[in-house]
Symmetry: C2
Subunit: 206 residues, 2 copies
Amino acid sequence: MTFKTTGHIFVTMGRIGHCRQHILAAGTEVLYQKGYNGTGVKEITTAAGVPKGSFYNHFESKEAFVIEALEAVAAQHEEHSRAVLMGSDLSPKQRILNFFDGIHQDYKSEEFNGGCIIGNLCLEMADENEGIRATVDKLFNKQVSLIADCLRAAQDCGELCCEHCNCAELAEFIHCAWEGAVMRMKASRNCQPFTIFRNQLEQFFV
Amino acid sequence: MTFKTTGHIFVTMGRIGHCRQHILAAGTEVLYQKGYNGTGVKEITTAAGVPKGSFYNHFESKEAFVIEALEAVAAQHEEHSRAVLMGSDLSPKQRILNFFDGIHQDYKSEEFNGGCIIGNLCLEMADENEGIRATVDKLFNKQVSLIADCLRAAQDCGELCCEHCNCAELAEFIHCAWEGAVMRMKASRNCQPFTIFRNQLEQFFV
């Protein structure tokens, strides 16, 4: 399929693209709050203010929508993570602490609703849906990889307690503890799990 | 309300109790696999092989059923945890390592399906349902408390690296890392997240 390069077609393409992004953004919000099984196509299109039928003009299925929503959220998160973890003159230790402080502030401002959409969909859907499982696994690995890079930078400048430890494994462990702390904050509705995570995180550094 | 102590009434009470426990056990299995929103009353009664209407003879609502299922799973888990963490002549360090090794073996034998039902329902339902959130929070606190007791015993006999650290906080952190590792195993479908958790866990001990 080719598009003619007329003004009309560009406008139409723009509208289609805009509508698609709009459904994606509005539907992602619903997905955050209600999970996969709690989010019907009707709820996605109602949130976006578009007719139900228009969903299938843009997405093959709810599964395809959810995988695209996960990829979009993760891409935004990756850009932000890369900027905080790698893109400043602060020491690697300070960048990691700032990274988790920042995400925690976001969760706190949402009163611990929502949480990590990747973790939420992992626990709800990994057993049931192979496409979502594989996507979630890939996105977790990307997150861990960025933390590992920053830990290696910390190790190189003598900021890590363990001079020779495997930073990929330490990053995986810290990431697991973080996902667990996000889970605990959804249950406790207070910052205590984060405060404990933060105190323990500092113990890995000199 | 009082029950007459005739044989007939005892048998009737037994049948009601048996049916209730049967629905609870069969429905909990469905809940493990499909989560709250993926599990309808119809699916619970189909799994139990009883008519749909009979569900409401025993449970006020799906929410009430789920809270009772959570409490029942947690009570079984607590009994097992107490036996492994506190009830043997092994050293506290070895008891904690055995504890996590044992749960991991259970998950592995299920090919990482299911996972932690408390964690699963926390991420799916804590934002949506206050009764489930409060139950999950209470049950998490009980689990952490048992781990903290064993860590204190380890600290008392010089097995912990940190001689004066707060064992309640360390238990919370380890528990978070464990819940995160269970999440990661659901995504990766292999033991690597557990192996990393296990290696890091050992670092807390001398």
